[in-house]
């Protein structure tokens, strides 16, 4: 089977990405493929063009109502994404949690990390000292209470 001309000229990684995109158009993309697709930085432009083109091909073949065949404006997409870049998506925080090892590494590199440790230890020591003192008083006070109770009977 002959390859389409543009496929021959296409870098392998872009061709792989485009094949995944084609499967995504059909809802048949595997999760690991989708993850790779969404991270394919250098190929982004080629993938955007392929995505638009595949949608256009489908619309033209189906002649769907409402599907005009003109491509989207890249300026429009850039403007929307620029506006969204400044906004937090509600719900994202709960879904995308930082992996534990990354979280631990970030914490270890934090300048204030050692001070937090010192402050935490100091707080623990203060609580322990207070608790010890309170227990000590209980031991002293309780025998007298017991004595006074037995005397009143």
């Amino acid at each position: 089977m002959n390859s389409p001309q543009n496929l021959d000229a296409m870098p392998t990684s872009l061709a792989d990405g485009c094949e995944s995109l084609s499967a995504l158009v059909d809802g048949e993309c595997r999760p690991e493929e989708l993850a790779a697709l969404l991270q394919s930085g250098p190929q982004r432009q080629g993938l955007d063009a392929a995505w638009t083109s595949y949608q256009t091909v489908g619309a033209a073949l189906r002649q769907s109502a409402g599907d005009d065949l003109l491509p989207p404006s890249t300026d429009f997409v850039a403007a929307v994404m620029a506006r969204l870049a400044t906004q937090a998506l509600p719900g994202v925080g709960e879904v995308a949690e930082m992996p534990p090892q990354v979280r631990a590494r970030a914490a270890a590199n934090d300048e204030s990390w050692r001070w937090k440790w010192v402050a935490g230890l100091a707080a623990c020591a203060a609580v322990a000292a207070f608790g010890w003192q309170w227990l000590d008083q209980e031991v002293v006070v309780n025998p007298e209470l017991a004595k006074s109770q037995s005397a009143s009977r």
């Binding site: 389409p4 995505w51 638009t52």
Partner: protein, 212 residues
């Protein structure tokens, strides 16, 4: 012909992209914007006269959709949900600006309107009729190029893309029908799309400006 299947796979694809967006991958939402920008603009273009305002409202539609994305449950197709946001965004803006809409707003009052029924479908069909002569010509050229490319395809590629795009069959169903592995079906559909894309690329580049 299974006309609904094509919509189902598109809906599944959109659902995957919504989930990835919710997982914090903005690139997934970018693909949704690329996919639906033109449709949203055409829809809003039926409601307001000012082209600048159409673009602003289309942007606002995607921003609102993004903010509300965690509330999208997949009970309707993503585009149906998005179109509802677009119509509501346009209606709200029109009420604020007190501009004269091209269409009577009373035809859009229903809460359960969607792209495939009632007033919005009417809007979509009218949008085709109202396209500028240049846009109509460009769309016609692209459609002709797609048809010419289809005729030039090797028969196995033509069969695969036809079963997928026109008959709306899944890869599995196409594999059964063509008696070949699913991987072969996937590859044939991809190669068909690429061959057709090569034919329409100059037309899309001419229309799309910078990138295409």
């Amino acid at each position: 012909m299974l006309a609904g299947s094509s919509h189902t796979s598109s809906a599944h694809s959109d659902w995957l992209l919504v989930q990835r967006t919710l997982a914090g991958e903005m690139r997934a939402f970018e693909l949704l914007v690329l996919k639906y920008q033109r449709r949203v603009e055409r829809l809003i273009g039926r409601l307001v006269r000012d082209p600048g305002l159409v673009e602003d409202l289309a942007q606002e539609t995607f921003i609102r959709a993004y903010r509300a994305l965690s509330r999208f449950r997949g009970e309707s197709a993503f585009y149906t949900w998005l179109y509802r946001i677009a119509v509501n965004t346009a209606k709200r803006q029109l009420a604020e600006l007190r501009r004269d809409p091209v269409l009577s707003m009373s035809s859009l009052e229903s809460d359960d309107e969607d792209e495939t029924s009632g007033s919005v479908r009417e809007l979509m069909l009218q949008a085709i009729d109202d396209a500028t002569p240049e846009a109509l010509l460009a769309s016609k050229e692209i459609a002709q190029a797609v048809n010419a490319a289809m005729q030039a395809l090797p028969s196995e590629l033509c069969q695969a893309i036809t079963l997928r795009e026109i008959d709306g069959l899944s890869y599995e169903a196409i594999a059964r029908q063509l008696e070949c592995p699913i991987g072969t079906v996937r590859s044939r559909i991809f190669r068909a799309r690429e061959a057709i894309s090569a034919r329409i690329k100059p037309l899309l580049e001419r229309q799309g400006g910078k990138r295409w």
